[in-house]
């Protein structure tokens, strides 16, 4: 993605902008005329009842939705000013700059070390980094997610043997060497216990200085705690988008109010 010039011109105050985005799974329309603008270097949370399309929307931003059959999309998504549905866009490059963390931690069944370097190995020619540099990349990434002290003596261990919290941190760590601009998170804490949630939230909060983070969550407390902006979706549409506290305290729509006050969801 060519990103620098667009930002420099000041054209794009927004990292992601969608316009009239519609998406169908077969006959079922999961997203309806979604037009949204997401700001850089903050956490935007996506909330809404199950099936409202929030995960679908998230999965549009790196086009990972397309791995399923029968997905039709219309409209446009501009990331740093460039429509990601343009024919010239390389999926590989897009996904390099838009990282994703999944609901269920999914480290690859290889060593911790290899997990962190997986992306780098995909995107850089073989001999780009020396052994020492790779070691450094791994250490930096793992330090950034506060995992280094836990695993520094067992980098060769299989990553799937870590605890879920550690696995999720690793899933975050392996994105970092690629220097993504955006990190998508699909309920990153739902598989974790209370302590794990706290640690991941702390971590995400620290990362927001450097990355644009969009997080789908079912946990309204979490949305409130860590996000600066909040999007409420319902039945495939964006109902409300604004600063998190406003959405929670002075919602403009009845549906939002009912949802955030827990009257349905």
């Amino acid at each position: 993605m060519t990103t620098g010039p667009d930002l420099a011109r000041g054209v794009d105050r927004f990292t992601i902008q969608t316009r009239d985005l519609n998406l169908w799974y077969g006959d079922f329309q999961a997203l309806k005329e979604v037009t949204v603008r997401i700001k850089p270097r903050m956490i935007t949370s996506l909330i809404g009842p199950s099936g409202c399309g929030k995960t679908t929307l998230l999965r549009c931003f790196n086009r990972i939705n397309e791995r399923y059959e029968n997905v039709t999309t219309t409209g446009e998504i501009r990331i740093f000013g460039r429509n990601i549905y343009d024919t010239g866009v390389s999926l590989s490059e897009l996904r390099k700059s838009v990282g994703m963390v999944f609901q269920r931690p999914n480290p690859l069944p290889i060593s911790i070390y290899d997990n962190v370097l997986f992306g780098v190995r995909l995107h850089m020619p073989r001999m780009t980094f020396s052994r020492g540099q790779k070691q450094e990349l791994v250490e930096t990434a793992l330090r950034d997610v506060q995992l280094w002290d836990d695993v520094k003596d067992q980098l060769r261990r299989k990553a799937t043997l870590l605890t879920l919290e550690q696995q999720q941190k690793l899933c975050l760590a392996r994105l970092l060497p690629l220097k993504p601009r955006i990190i998508l998170m699909d309920e990153p804490c739902s598989a974790l216990d209370a302590e794990g949630i706290e640690h991941i939230e702390e971590l995400v909060d620290q990362l927001r200085a450097k990355y644009t983070i969009i997080m789908v969550t079912h946990n309204m407390g979490q949305a409130r705690r860590i996000s600066q902006e909040c999007i409420f979706m319902f039945l495939g549409r964006i109902v409300e988008h604004g600063p998190t506290l406003e959405v929670f305290l002075t919602p403009r729509h009845k549906d939002t109010e009912m949802y955030v006050t827990g009257r349905y969801g």
């Binding site: 790196n62 990972i64 791995r67 059959e69 999926l91 590989s92 490059e93 897009l94 996904r95 390099k96 990282g99 994703m100 999944f102 269920r104 999914n106 480290p107 690859l108 069944p109 290889i110 060593s111 997986f118 992306g119 190995r121 995909l122 995107h123 060769r156 261990r157 299989k158 899933c171 392996r174 994105l175 690629l178």
Partner: protein, 317 residues
């Protein structure tokens, strides 16, 4: 017996709960358990029994008259000579080895490729059709394969390559490969399908292409299953008798080219056991060959086991 007060207190309740089917449950449970246990142990029992049977028949020659050095190093196989019988199986061993290796060289890429295609690329109808067809392929009796080798592939080889005989090393390998492919495909596909989708998604989301997902994620993740697929294929290739008997030309010689006829260990036993005098030297030597086959498959399986367990344990387990 009266050690656990909790248990004694509970017992009447339990008995009452189980009251209705007590008679049947009380007996059937242990009975079924025993039946299952016997099923499990029977595998070991059968292998041991087969081994001892083959060993018993082979023993008088193996530990007596047979010159083992000559047995393994001579290509002179003259078991029915009036003057002096000679039992050298080198040519047969080499024949088996060549046919199996060549068959695997064809079958492994083909089989794994098909497994990858079915598991990762094909969808819906195509996938189902392919799977059913391949299962059908596995169900073709080996004699039919032999027939095809003899009547179809042989003449074709003569026509295309100008080889003097159509039944030869190449023919046998192709037929064995085709016979092993269905096993490799179905076991391989299972192995690939068992890889959690989350791994594919993780790699895709980092920008991997489908091909990179296969090579960097699926192959390492499914390596044990894929290895098992290949080994089952090898097992089939080494053990197959009828088709190779008809397809390889059955000439005792070390092949100099792809289109030389060869003979395998299995085909030798199959074709000669009927004529050998029971209890005679020839008869017993055929059983020694059986032991050799037994040993080969045992080693293959053992090595496979070590590889499968070993690769993971040291660095990554």
């Amino acid at each position: 017996m009266s050690a656990d007060p909790v248990n004694t207190r509970d017992r009447p309740t339990l008995r009452r709960l189980a009251a209705v089917p007590a008679g049947c449950r009380g007996l059937t449970e242990p009975l079924i358990e025993w039946l299952i246990r016997i099923c499990g142990w029977s595998a070991i029992l059968f292998v041991a029994a087969i081994f001892f049977f083959v060993l018993r028949e082979a023993a008088p020659m193996l530990f007596g008259k047979l010159d083992l050095v000559e047995f393994f190093t001579s290509t002179d196989w003259q078991p029915t000579s009036e003057v002096r019988q000679r039992y050298g199986i080198l040519a047969l061993l080499v024949g088996t080895l060549h046919v199996s290796l060549l068959a695997m060289a064809i079958a492994v890429p083909l089989g794994l490729g098909a497994a990858v295609y079915i598991s990762e690329f094909s969808r819906g109808r195509t996938r189902e059709t392919l799977k059913i067809t391949i299962e059908l392929l596995a169900a073709i009796p080996s004699i039919v394969w032999g027939f095809i080798a003899y009547m179809v592939l042989g003449p074709l080889i003569i026509r295309v390559t100008g080889a003097p005989v159509g039944v030869n090393l190449f023919n046998g390998s192709v037929v064995l490969a085709l016979m092993s492919v269905p096993i490799i495909v179905s076991v391989g596909e299972d192995a690939l399908k068992a890889v959690p989708d989350a791994y594919r998604e993780a790699a895709l989301a980092m920008g991997a292409s489908r091909w990179e997902v296969i090579v960097r994620v699926l192959f390492p993740a499914a390596k044990n299953g894929l290895l098992a697929a290949v080994l089952l294929g090898i097992g089939r290739a080494i053990g197959e008798t009828m088709a190779v008997l008809m397809a390889t030309g059955h000439a005792v010689l070390i092949p100099r080219s792809l289109f030389d006829p060869v003979r395998t260990l299995t085909a030798t036993i199959a074709s000669e056991l009927g004529e050998a005098v029971k209890g005679g030297d020839h008869y017993r030597v055929l059983f020694v060959i059986g032991l050799v086959l037994f040993a080969v498959t045992f080693v293959v399986n053992f090595v496979a086991d070590v590889v499968v367990k070993g690769v993971g344990s040291e660095r990554r387990a």
